[in-house]
Symmetry: none
Subunit: 252 residues, 2 copies
């Protein structure tokens, strides 16, 4: 998916924004950057500085006199726009955009088009877009800069390219350790209950209710075998008070 | 959801990054910014310039000497980290993080923690996080700057807040009990560590490593206030062996 998407910067005035956009692209695995009627000269130190490890992406960027030339081979051309148009256009949100691009035939290319910083795409350019993408920002402060918008769209494209993600391993299982078995957990609960009962902690009102809460707590965490051994070891250490006191007494 | 999330910048060296982070937050509808042990002076013109329309968010930011102080009232504390740890920690992707925060009880607060630009959170700070969030960037160029990471996480939180479907309550939240705060958990860890140390259980080889495993176990479970009280009560009962033995002796 990521190989089929081009980011097109139209009429960009600040070279630093080209660099920041290139960085966001490369961080997310995108590699096709095109500049249409750029309003700044390149190469430029600001572009390189903000590109950081993505300088080569700036250097490889193709330069075109018009948006039309930059997207000539693309099937889907999606303009970014914050303004509402008098004529409603097919609008996507970023996640829907990523899904739409993913749903394209494998040989179809898509362009995501970013207008000049202050004024955005002009009406003729907007008309050349097949869709618009609108980032649902905070209505009280919706103005994203170019790098922010590029980052969000690149992120959604990457997420879409990685889906279907292998389902996240539910619960625990770290360090390659097997999870504690039911029997191992039960052995711990039994020992803990006996110790708490001996100390009068469970006798009070409703012992079974309290043990249920303890089970629920550990069951939620799904301890692995190492962790259940630590819990058992701690219990042994805590119960060893008398013996320890006796030993200390012997030493003094 | 957005009102319950705090972004915590730890040891930030460039004031411009604080501004850019504030802008990303406000664009996405977030408003709670905290700075822990900041490594730059504020106010600073770079912070204001990059904050743009979010200057008030920088000005309102709370300042704390430690991460712990900045997140004391939070139940979920999620550290951003690119490094792999020797001890694996519960990891979320940004979308899973947003879902996890949305699934918290309505009165529980969450913190998303960003470390210093070059070195990230130190091991002690990472150990105080209940979870880590990892942005699955391009393996060939995975280095996101602070503003990029903040933008992606803020975006996912906003998307989650706009999503219509009520998510299944994953993880914690039972009985309508509030979750234990960071400070309440720390108080338990401190008491447990002291008890284990007094009994020689921690002295052996690597005490800090073992306490990290214990933190990881409970952090995964996100105990509620009732459960943390049970854990404290059990500890009291287990430590009360000598006193109890004395009392029993008196009765027989």
């Amino acid at each position: 998916l990521l190989d089929r998407v081009r980011f097109v910067l139209v009429g960009t005035t600040h070279p630093g924004n080209i660099g920041a956009c290139a960085r966001a692209m490369k961080n997310m695995g995108l590699g096709d950057l095109a500049l249409a009627r750029p309003a700044c000269g390149l190469p430029h130190p600001d572009a390189d500085a903000l590109a950081a490890g993505a300088v080569e992406l700036v250097r490889r960027a193709t330069i075109h006199p018009t948006l039309e030339a930059a997207v000539a081979d693309c099937a889907l051309v999606v303009g970014t726009s914050s303004r509402r148009r008098s004529l409603a256009w097919p609008e996507l949100e970023p996640r829907g955009l990523a899904a739409a691009i993913r749903a394209l035939p494998a040989d179809a290319r898509a362009a995501v088009v970013f207008g000049p910083e202050r004024i955005g795409l002009d009406n003729d350019e907007l008309a050349r877009c097949t869709h618009l993408v609108v980032i649902p920002a905070n209505p009280e402060y919706a103005a994203l800069n170019l790098a922010q918008a590029a980052q969000i769209l690149a992120w959604e494209l990457r997420m879409s390219s990685l889906a279907p993600a292998a389902p996240p391993p539910a619960g625990a299982s770290f360090d390659g350790m097997p999870l504690a078995s039911h029997a191992e957990l039960e052995a711990y609960y039994a020992r803990l209950e006996a110790a708490l009962r001996a100390r009068g902690f469970l006798a009070a009102d409703n012992p079974r209710h309290l043990m249920k809460r303890i089970r629920r707590l550990y069951g939620r965490a799904l301890p692995d075998r190492n962790e259940i051994n630590i819990l058992q070891g701690m219990l042994t250490a805590l119960l060893d008070d008398a013996a320890q006191a006796g030993k200390d007494g012997g030493n003094t």
